[in-house]
């Protein structure tokens, strides 16, 4: 067979190299890690791909997959591609209307839906998706009594595949070898901060280039451990998980259940990890809160050695000066007493590549992890062009998101927008030529560029400083621009603040903020002080809680130029909620909608009132809708 220019061919090549003597995947099941060798993994794909062919999957057909991170998900994706199809991932918490949109838009003819929960969603929209021939599930729990022939088990499809394999033993290899590098491999539907989701078309060549570019500077070995927990419908898991797995032989482990990820990470101590910036932030908050509740000895060690860690890492990374003998000695003690146990608790004992993505990561978070000897690197990218920039080796700067990997180019055009170019550039938006033409431009030299829509600048060393989305950079009445992301990231470093949206603009003299308290942490704080509260609404409006957050806002303001400081804020009576469309599925703020929704409050912050009456429609977990009416206070900061 020719060079492995597609994912299925890469699997076949890896099977040939590693066969039955290397582990490809593991999944924790009933408390035990169960392993699949490359041979077994490839056999699974082979039977499944042939089963899909028997179900009539043609080259170029689309098939959707919705489910948690499981071996079956990866197998399904490669099998679809081996049969010549395009795999379309859907986020597991999507609602039936969202699923319906994607299935219809992608013209999917087959669907993989993990379990009863996902199958029920498809059954509820069945009449709207007549082109879907079968829904294939891989977890039969609760589906035993479903008799609908539309549903079919993974095993049944594979059994059909096996029968076909017996009739035509060369069909699988032939079908896989017909694939070409520039065939479409996956569609990633963007979370869509604006409008309907768009189907980003990505080829095999794109995925493999993305993996190879990054692997040059951050190689993996076939003995490396990786835990697959990022949503598999997301581009990142496709590149850093699946493509890396097939290309380098890295072992992919799958968590027992979505709720056990933290525990599984601890058991496995993966070599490579990518968390969203929020997750790293949450880990720091978690450590701080747990420490506050820990034994006196632990608190003492933490108080004693964290400053040592901070000091040593500042010397090493920021001032780039040699570390004296005394500090090295203290550091060694700290390693034994605090840093190593802490890393162990977090599953970071073996990590070589710890990445953060999704939003600008707070320097304080990076400093915290450096202090315990984990060097977090920032990674900046998009669905459309994968990794744009990242920190390489020890060349890590707080304020930047690093440099382009080999093969990528970036440029900043005049309005401050970042453009990127390279072999990872996507093939366009499915059935949307207009959006494609807007996003992809070809320059005079014939080079294709993706307009990211992000604003940034390059520093003297060629590092990219990411500011914000171009359209989110906000000029105040005085003309100074500020980055909402930056202020929000800073504020969210407080364990008591879960979410923030800053407000400002040319018609506004100063910056204000809508703040979501962190119900758990503030609740615990209140309980410690004997402060009685009933609900989220009640807790958020306590004068004491306002004083607590006021202090946090002042702390952050101290690091900002005067014009960019938060002058007034409100503590919202409810949390931002993805189910109400206030956040995207990756928990990004939908600013337009939020600005509209909380218009009265924003007006009150600029109007000078001390409180505002709100009536907010709320949707309860059981689907009922109701109205909350309450007074929300407005606080002014010094």
């Amino acid at each position: 067979m020719d060079a492995a220019d597609t994912l299925p061919k890469s699997l076949i090549a890896a099977r040939r190299q590693f066969g039955d003597h290397r582990i490809a995947m593991r999944q924790k099941d009933k408390g035990i890690w169960r392993a699949y060798t490359w041979q077994q993994s490839c056999d699974q794909v082979r039977r499944l791909a042939l089963g899909l062919i028997r179900l009539g999957l043609q080259r170029g057909d689309k098939a959707c997959i919705i489910g948690d991170n499981d071996p079956q998900y990866f197998w399904a994706q490669i099998a679809i591609q081996a049969a010549g199809g395009v795999a379309v991932g859907i986020f597991t918490d999507s609602t039936p209307p969202e699923i319906q949109y994607i299935v219809q838009h992608a013209n999917a003819v087959l669907v993989f839906a993990k379990d009863q929960e996902q199958c029920d969603k498809f059954l509820s929209i069945r009449d709207q998706v007549p082109d879907v021939r079968r829904v294939i599930y891989w977890d039969d729990k609760g589906l035993w009594n479903y008799t609908d022939a539309w549903l079919m088990s993974f095993q049944a499809v594979q059994a059909d595949g096996q029968a076909l394999d017996a009739e035509q033993p060369d069909l699988f290899d032939r079908s896989a070898s017909e694939g070409r590098g520039d065939d479409l491999a996956i569609f990633c539907y963007t979370s869509g901060t604006t409008g309907l989701p768009k189907g980003v078309m990505i080829s095999h060549a794109n995925l493999l280039a993305g993996c190879d570019q990054t692997a040059q500077i951050d190689p993996r070995r076939e003995t490396d451990e990786y835990l697959s927990f990022l949503p598999p419908a997301w581009i990142t898991e496709n590149v850093l998980g699946l493509a890396y797995h097939l290309r380098t032989g890295m072992i992919v482990n799958f968590p027992e259940a979505p709720e056990t990820v933290q525990e599984d990470i601890r058991e496995l101590a993966p070599h490579a990890l990518l968390f969203s910036a929020r997750l790293w932030e949450n880990l720091v908050a978690l450590v701080q809160v747990r420490m506050a509740e820990s034994s006196r000895l632990n608190r003492l060690l933490y108080r004693l050695f964290m400053p040592v860690g901070y000091r040593v890492s500042a010397l090493r990374f920021e001032q780039r000066r040699p570390v004296g003998l005394l500090w090295r000695l203290l550091q060694a003690l700290g390693e034994f007493a605090l840093f190593r146990p802490l890393r162990d608790k977090l599953g970071l004992t073996q990590v070589r590549s710890a990445y953060s993505s999704g939003a600008a990561l707070n320097p304080d978070v990076i400093r915290f992890f450096r202090a315990i000897d984990v060097n977090i690197k920032q990674l900046y990218g998009s669905t459309e062009a994968q990794v744009h920039t990242l920190h390489i080796g020890d060349d890590v700067k707080f304020e930047t998101v690093g440099v382009p990997p080999p093969g990528m180019q970036i440029q900043i055009v005049e309005d401050g927008e970042i453009w990127v170019s390279g072999a990872t550039l996507f093939q366009g938006y499915y059935k949307d030529a207009e959006a494609t033409a807007k996003a992809l431009v070809t320059d005079a030299q014939g080079r294709r560029w993706f307009r990211t829509g992000d604003a940034g600048t390059l520093d003297a060393d060629g590092h990219l400083i990411y500011l914000d989305r171009v359209k989110e950079m906000i000029a105040l009445a005085g003309g100074e621009k500020y980055s909402p992301q930056y202020i929000e990231g800073r504020l969210k470093f407080s364990p008591y603040i879960r979410d923030v949206m800053t407000v400002g603009g040319t018609d506004m003299a100063f910056v204000t903020a809508l703040i979501n308290i962190d119900f758990n942490n503030v609740g615990r704080w209140a309980e410690k002080r004997g402060l009685a509260y009933t609900t989220f609404v009640d807790l958020s409006q306590k004068a004491e809680v306002y004083a607590l957050i006021h202090h946090e806002v002042e702390q952050v303001n101290r690091t900002l130029p005067p014009a960019a400081r938060v002058r007034r804020f409100v503590l919202l009576h409810k949390e931002f909620d993805a189910d109400e469309g206030e956040l995207t599925r990756t928990r990004k703020l939908r600013r337009g909608l939020l600005g509209e929704r909380y218009r009265d409050m924003i007006a009150a912050m600029y109007g000078g009132g001390d409180a505002v009456r709100v009536r907010a429609a709320v949707k309860y977990r059981d689907g009922r809708e109701g109205v909350v009416e309450t007074m929300v206070r407005v606080a002014t900061v010094g």
């Binding site: 099941d29 009933k30 408390g31 009594n145 259940a257 525990e263 977990r621 059981d622």
Partner: protein
């Protein structure tokens, strides 16, 4: 499921009466639980529901009447014998080992199935080791079934109420019963937890053809999952039948509405 498959009475309550001093808790109650069905026992507060359950698994001894389980008369049997016959239950006020993990609580319930002697266990070789593996497998199946992976090693006392109820259900299942008695498995739960619990009960019923006797307050849920309903009021059986019949039964409406008003 059609009726023919579970016509046979697995449990037969025959003219059971029970009184505490001058108070009559149960008055000549008679009903059958058919093999393979979900039967709900409902009634207003103080109707005698929990007293009935307590008679079934030997906490109370009825003053008169008999309770037959698969041909055995339960009324004079000690509690552990009743458990060994295949009746296990959960409690209205959760009764778990709060200092142990979920896993250990479930393993403790396997006790009645353990055969290895003291010597075997001390050597932990051969029989004791093999047995351990089998029990762990059964317990892990239950953990998987009830989606408790994330709390496998959590100390039960630190778990929220809804999850503790689930652990208790798991422990009842670990006994591998033929009849599962559930005493208000959904009290104190929010809507989502209730729906989860209802789904688990239905799954157990479907998957293992388990016979379930359910005591519950939440009428809506009872009507959704039970195949037959038996209604008690002041110790008297006032109605028995399919959920729809019960819903429109004047005596039941009176008993419930009378309480509300």
């Amino acid at each position: 499921m059609d009726h023919a498959t579970h016509n046979r009475a697995l449990l037969s309550v025959q003219n059971v009466s029970l009184s505490f001093g001058g108070t009559t808790a149960l008055n000549d109650v008679r009903f059958d639980v058919r093999a393979g069905e979900i039967l709900a026992l409902i009634g207003p507060n103080g109707a005698g529901k929990t007293s009935m359950l307590n008679c079934l698994n030997g906490f109370y001894r009825p003053d008169t009447g008999r309770i037959l389980f698969d041909g055995h008369d339960l009324t004079r049997l000690p509690r552990h014998r009743i458990a060994q016959l295949g009746i296990s239950r959960t409690f209205q006020n959760i009764a778990l080992y709060t200092g142990l993990s979920t896993l250990d609580n479930l393993l403790a319930a396997r006790h009645i199935h353990m055969r290895a002697g003291l010597l075997d266990c001390l050597l932990y070789w051969g029989r004791a080791h093999r047995e351990d593996l089998v029990h762990r497998q059964i317990v892990e199946d239950i953990i998987d079934f009830l989606e408790m992976e994330h709390i496998r090693k959590a100390i039960v006392g630190a778990l929220p109420h809804g999850l503790r109820k689930r652990v208790e259900l798991g422990r009842a299942l670990a006994l591998e019963p033929r009849l599962l008695l559930l005493d208000e498995p959904m009290t104190g739960m929010n809507q989502e937890e209730k729906e989860d619990m209802a789904r688990f009960i239905l799954d157990i019923h479907e998957r293992q053809k388990m016979t379930v006797l359910l005591v519950e307050h939440d009428m809506g849920l009872v009507m959704d999952i039970a195949e037959r309903v038996v209604v008690l009021d002041f110790g008297l059986l006032i109605a028995a039948g399919a959920p729809d019949e019960i819903r429109h039964n004047p005596a039941v409406i009176n008993a419930y509405l009378g309480e509300v008003a």
